[in-house]
Structures are given as structure tokens and as C-alpha cells.
């Protein structure tokens, strides 16, 4: 029972991370294609300025919770995915630093350098997180000792790549909508239009992913055992359609929330299909790591549950407050202030 509760929390933490950092990463990926001058770029940097660091902590928490609640999974997952994970880390390091450093100096070359870093530091994590999760849904070649038999190319299989592209598109729409909320004038218009256009591609890839999951994974098994789970798929699809509707009606915040729900739903769709596996083996189901054979002791799970149920709502409350405090558009006077990115 405890293990199952932790499985749900584990999925939710990852989903929240994807929803929150999703718009930063998506916007960072979109930036070079939508910004036409330095002011545009600074609006983009400042639109995520107060938030990106707090968003990234959800990743640290999701990783930490994997370590705390399912140490064996943490150990096997992180060492099996050694190369992609370190690439992800390098990318996130560069991303964080580029935000902080980029606008500190006026020099063209300096800013260009960090713009490139920011793009790579956003695009690479979006892609790799998608690739990693799609591969987990599909199963990873690990043996009974948890040793990985493969390399980076094993993970870059068609289904894995499709998952990566799906994540990039989800984040792009999410990020474009965020920019439409935070920017003014032509940049705002361009952002809204980009969200609308990319949405169609997202729709096609999402459909393809749902179909490919049928052939490449066992995710749907749980959906037939517990038909109530279909509600996740329904809500996700409704949110995806809702995003489009709200883009058309110009209700930017609603569109952004809908795309957030879409990201959470897409993550939970896979996670729900995974249960009770956390890290399935494609070599032999007997080698799969499940919530039961890889979890911590009941005492640790209990203590962690108390900590999580107390503090995660508090974190959510003050993060909502911080979004509310900085809900306004990024204006010229914001850019003129000494602290601005």
C-alpha cells in the first residue's frame, strides 16, 4: 500500500516538474526562432527569470524521491542511463548559467555565446527527458544484476525518439503560450501564432505516440485491467483540445493551464501504464524493478510520506504566490532595472 502511494507521488512529482520546467525548456528552444532582436531575447529571459530555479528544484525532488523511496530503481536507472543523464545535467548546468550570465555584459559575442548555450541547454533536456521516459515505458535492456546491456544508440530507437519529439512539442506549445502571456506587441502575437501552429504538429505526434505505444509497450494492459484509468487519457485529450480552443479565443492563461494539464496527463498516462513497474527490463520481465522489489523500508516510506504530505503543499502554495506576484507582463521598465536578466 505504502509502495503504491509512493509510486503515485513519484509519478506526480515528475509530472509537475515537466509541467513547470516544460515552459522554460520549451521557450528556450523556441527563442532563437521567435526573437528578432536583443529586446525580444531579454523579454524571453526575464519572463522565466523569477521562476526557472524554483521549477528546476522539482527535478531535484523527483530525483531525490526516487533515491529515497526506491533506492534500487534509482541506482539501476541512473547508472543504466549514465550517458543521457550526464548530458542532461551538463545541459541544465549550461542553461542555468546562461540565464544568470547572459545579460550581465553588453558585449555581442558574450550574449550570442550564452544564447546558443541557452538554446542547447533547453532543447537537449526536453529531448532527452522524452527519450528516457519513452524508453522506460518500453523497457530497458537490464539483466538480473541491474546491469545495462546497450549504449546511447540503444535508447535512440524509433519509439524513444518519438517520445523525445513529443516532449519537445509539448514544451514548445507550453513555452510559446507563456511568452504570449508575458510579452507585449509583435512578440506576443508571434508567440500566440507559434503556439497555434505547433499545436497541430503536436496533435499529429501525440496521436502517433498513442498508437505506437500500443505496439511498442505494454502500457495499455493496466488500462484494460482497471478501465477507470481511461479517465487520464480522456482528460489529457480534452486538455489538448482545450488548449487549441483557448488559443483561438485568446484566453492565454486558460490555454497555458490547459497545456500544463496536457503535460501532466501525458506523463501520468505512461506512469499509470507502468505500474507496478518502475524500470521494466526488456530482457526478462523477472528482472524488472517494481515498486515492491526496489522500495525502501516501511519506516523510511512512512517518514518520507509525512514530510512530503506536509511540505509539498506548502511549496506549492508559495510557488503559486510567486507566480501570482510576477503575473504581469515583462515591461520596458522591468528590463531597465539593474537586476533584470
Amino acid at each position: 500500500m505504502l509502495e503504491t502511494i509512493w509510486f503515485v507521488l513519484w509519478g506526480v512529482l515528475w509530472a509537475v516538474y515537466f509541467m513547470l520546467d516544460g515552459f522554460d525548456l520549451g521557450l528556450g528552444t523556441l527563442a532563437p526562432f521567435i526573437a528578432s532582436n536583443d529586446v525580444d531575447r531579454r523579454v524571453i529571459y526575464n519572463s522565466m527569470g523569477p521562476f526557472w530555479d524554483g521549477n528546476e528544484v522539482w527535478l531535484i525532488t523527483a530525483g531525490g524521491v526516487t533515491f529515497a523511496a526506491f533506492p534500487t530503481t534509482y541506482a539501476v536507472m541512473f547508472s543504466a542511463l549514465y550517458t543521457p543523464l550526464l548530458l542532461l545535467l551538463f545541459a541544465l548546468i549550461v542553461r542555468g548559467v546562461s540565464l544568470e550570465f547572459r545579460s550581465k555584459l553588453e558585449a555581442q559575442g558574450w550574449r550570442k555565446l550564452w544564447d546558443v548555450c541557452h538554446f542547447l541547454g533547453s532543447f537537449v533536456p526536453a529531448l532527452l527527458l522524452g527519450v528516457a521516459f519513452a524508453n522506460i515505458f518500453k523497457g530497458i535492456p537490464i539483466d538480473g544484476e541491474g546491469i545495462f546491456h546497450g549504449n546511447l544508440l540503444t535508447l535512440l530507437n524509433p519509439y524513444g525518439l518519438l517520445g523525445g519529439i513529443l516532449f519537445v512539442l509539448l514544451f514548445l506549445v507550453h513555452g510559446a503560450l507563456w511568452l504570449a502571456i508575458k510579452a507585449e506587441g509583435p512578440l506576443e502575437e508571434r508567440a500566440a501564432r507559434a503556439a497555434g501552429t505547433i499545436w497541430w504538429v503536436l496533435l499529429a505526434v501525440a496521436a502517433l505516440f498513442l498508437i505506437a505505444s500500443w505496439f511498442a509497450t505494454d502500457l495499455y494492459k493496466n488500462y484494460f485491467t482497471y478501465p477507470a484509468l481511461w479517465i487520464i487519457v480522456l482528460i489529457t485529450l480534452a486538455a489538448l483540445v482545450g488548449t487549441r480552443v483557448f488559443i483561438t479565443t485568446g484566453a492565454r492563461w486558460k490555454a497555458w493551464f490547459s497545456s500544463g494539464v496536457t503535460i501532466v496527463g501525458a506523463t501520468l498516462f505512461g506512469v499509470a501504464g507502468l505500474y507496478p513497474n518502475l524500470f521494466p527490463s526488456s530482457m526478462d520481465p523477472a528482472y524488472s524493478l517494481t515498486v515492491f522489489n526496489s522500495s525502501s523500508s516501511p519506516l523510511t516510506l512512512k517518514i518520507m510520506l509525512v514530510v512530503a504530505l506536509t511540505f509539498v503543499p506548502i511549496v506549492a502554495a508559495y510557488q503559486v504566490w510567486s507566480y501570482y506576484t510576477f503575473r504581469h507582463k515583462v515591461t520596458e521598465s522591468d528590463l531597465a532595472s539593474e537586476e533584470a536578466y
Binding site: 529515497a68 544568470e100 555584459l105
Partner: protein, 431 residues
Amino acid sequence: MLSRLQFAVATYFHFLFVPLTLGLSILVAIMETRYVQTSEHEYKRMAKFWGKLLVINFVLGVVTGITLEFQFGTNWSRYSKYVGDIFGSLLAIEATVAFFLESTFLGVWIFGWKKLSPKAHAVCIWLVAGASNFSAYWILVANSWMQHPVGYVIRNGRAELDNFLAVVTQPYAVFMFLHTVSGAYILAGFFVMGICAYHLLRNREVQFFKKSFAMAATFTVIFALAQIVIGDFHGREMAKAQPTKAAAAESVWNTTKGAPMYLLVIPDEENERNSVELFGIPKLLSLVATGDKDGEYKGLKEWPKEERPPVAATFWSFRLMVGLGFLLALISVIAWLKRHKVENSRQLLRLMMFAIPLPYLASELGWTVTEIGRQPWIVYGMMKTSDAASSVSGAQVGISLTAFVILYTLLGIGCFYLIAKFARKGPEPVQ
């Protein structure tokens, strides 16, 4: 072996940034509080100027911290599997209760000068400072557990949590925390005083930098003096919990009652003796380590060779750290005494400028003693480091290690350049 090197690189680099964050956030919080209390604009300028340096430094501490957390899984998977029940939960709690707080409110603080009332804004920086230090506590609890595992049982082929409170409140962790944060406050104090000295030597913004200097001097002298006591307590705790580390730190080979302390020692590891032992003060070592001048100090020969840490590295790091500690305490007392007329003591100012790297060196040496001195164990007495690594290929680790070194070198240069640039530029002119 490569994994150890990679972890060492990542840790040393991470700890170049963390102590300044821990200490400077408190100094900035004090400055901003003074602003709220007195409405003097000078204090706001101070908070903004030092805050800018804090923020540049902060981001590197954050991004390099994530690497450390993830490396336990990527490179130390057998360790993670064996102790994750305890160690993992401490890291997860750190993120949930402390790291969220500091990251979220730092963002609010940087961008909130005009959006929040001065009081609310000052509260934000206190939350950042408090959460950073709280975060350090959890991390040091986790590290202490590797030095001195408590509150666990070996069950199901791994270490499982048995007594959470024992883990979280063990004296080793408390003293290690006090020792680490005091060191961090000293480092931040010297950082501020050094930059003030640079400007005072050039007669720029004299009032501004004198005020900052005095504040930092008072802050530093308290912790530099306290550190002498705290360091001793931490050392005693270490000698109790990790006798091999204590023996290596002092390069004591034979168990002695009423052990003397030699001011000059050169260890000779091969022949299991010291090639030089000069200027001994009778019984001082036993007194310092056990509180009893006739107390027993265990020598390295009590343990087989394969259970001893590298003696020379542990010994020299420890000696140098302690020496620096006393030197810094002395300098900080002088700086504090002269704080009101510091602009006239050119020599002291020059000294303060060049003293900035010393506490950094002391901090890194401290970690060297802690980590090298624990070898060959990853968890003292429980698990050997050689049994802890992942089964990833050497080539993979070699590539990532190279990438780490290159990336960190570049980032380090970039960060140093920016901090130096803004530090030299001085505060924004009064509008």
C-alpha cells in the same frame, strides 16, 4: 577510481560556491534589515551591490549541486542501493524542506524590489539565507552518516533506517554543521572585507565600503574565534567516531597515552613512522583530542595497512587547515580592532585583499581531511569505497570526467570574471 576522481572534481568545484552563498546571504539579509529599520538608502545600496555578487555565485552552487545528487546514482549505484533507505531520504528531505524555499525566494528577491514592500522583500532574503543554511544541515547530516553511521540496522542485505532522530541529531552532524557554516561565514566575511579593501585603497565610495567592512569584520571575528572552539569539538567527535582518520590527521603511528603534539612533523608512510618530529609539547595532543592530558591516542599501527587512509594527504590537509584557521582568526581580530579607521591602514587593506583565497583554501582542505581521511571506507566501518561504484565502463566515466573538467573550468573562469568585474565596478551611483 575514475568515479572517485570525478566525484572529487564535482565536490571541490561545488564547494567553491556554496560557502559564499551560506555566509553572504546572511550578510545581505542583515544589510537589508538595517535598511528596513533605518530607511537609510546606503543600506539598500549595500544589499543590492553585495546581493548581485551573491546571485552570480548562487547559480553555480545550484547547478553544480544537482550533479552531486545524481552522481550517487550514476557512478555509485551499489552504494545507493545499499544505503539509499537512509542516505536517499536525507537528500530528498533537503530538497523538499529547504532547497525549494531558497530557490523560489531567491527568484522573488532578485526580481521583487519593486513588487514587494521593503519589509516583505527583506523577509525573502532571510528565507533564502535560512533555507540555504538549513539545506546545508541536511546535506551534512547525510555526510556525517557516511562518517559515523548510526540509527540503522542491516536487514534485507542493506542498511535500513531504524531510528530517524538518531540519524538527524547525532552530535557528529551537529558539530560538523557548526564547523562548516562557521567556516562559510568566515569565508564570506573575508570575501566582503577583501573587496572593500580593494576600493578603500583607491579611495572610492569610502563611506559605503567602510560600513560594509565594519559589518563584515564584526561578523567574521565572532565566527573566526568561535571556530577555534567548534573546530576542537568537531575534532574530538571525529577522534571518537573515526580513530583512523584522527591518527592520520596527526600522523600518530603508535598508540600513546598522554600523547605530545609536535609542531613540525613529516610523515613517512612507507616506513610507518615520522621522519621528522620536532618541537613537541608534552601531552597536548591527548588533551586536545580527549579532554584528558593522559588520555589515550590511538596510532595507525592498530589497524592493518589496507584499513588506513592515505596518511600524508590527510595529515598535510589537516595541518594546513588548522594553521589557516588560526591565521584567519588573528587577521580577523586585527581587522575588527581597526574597523573604524581601516582606510588609514594601507598595509592591512592590502593584506585583506590578498587574504580572500585563504578561507577558500581552508574549506577545500577541510573537505579533503573529511573525505580522504575516511578512506578506504565510503561509509566508515560499513562499506568500502571499492565496493560502492557502478558497473559502468571506464571509458564512459573517462569521457564524462573530461567533460566535467572542461565545462567546470570554463564556468569557473566565467564566474570569476563576472564577480571580479562587478566587484571592481562598485555599487551603482546614487540616483
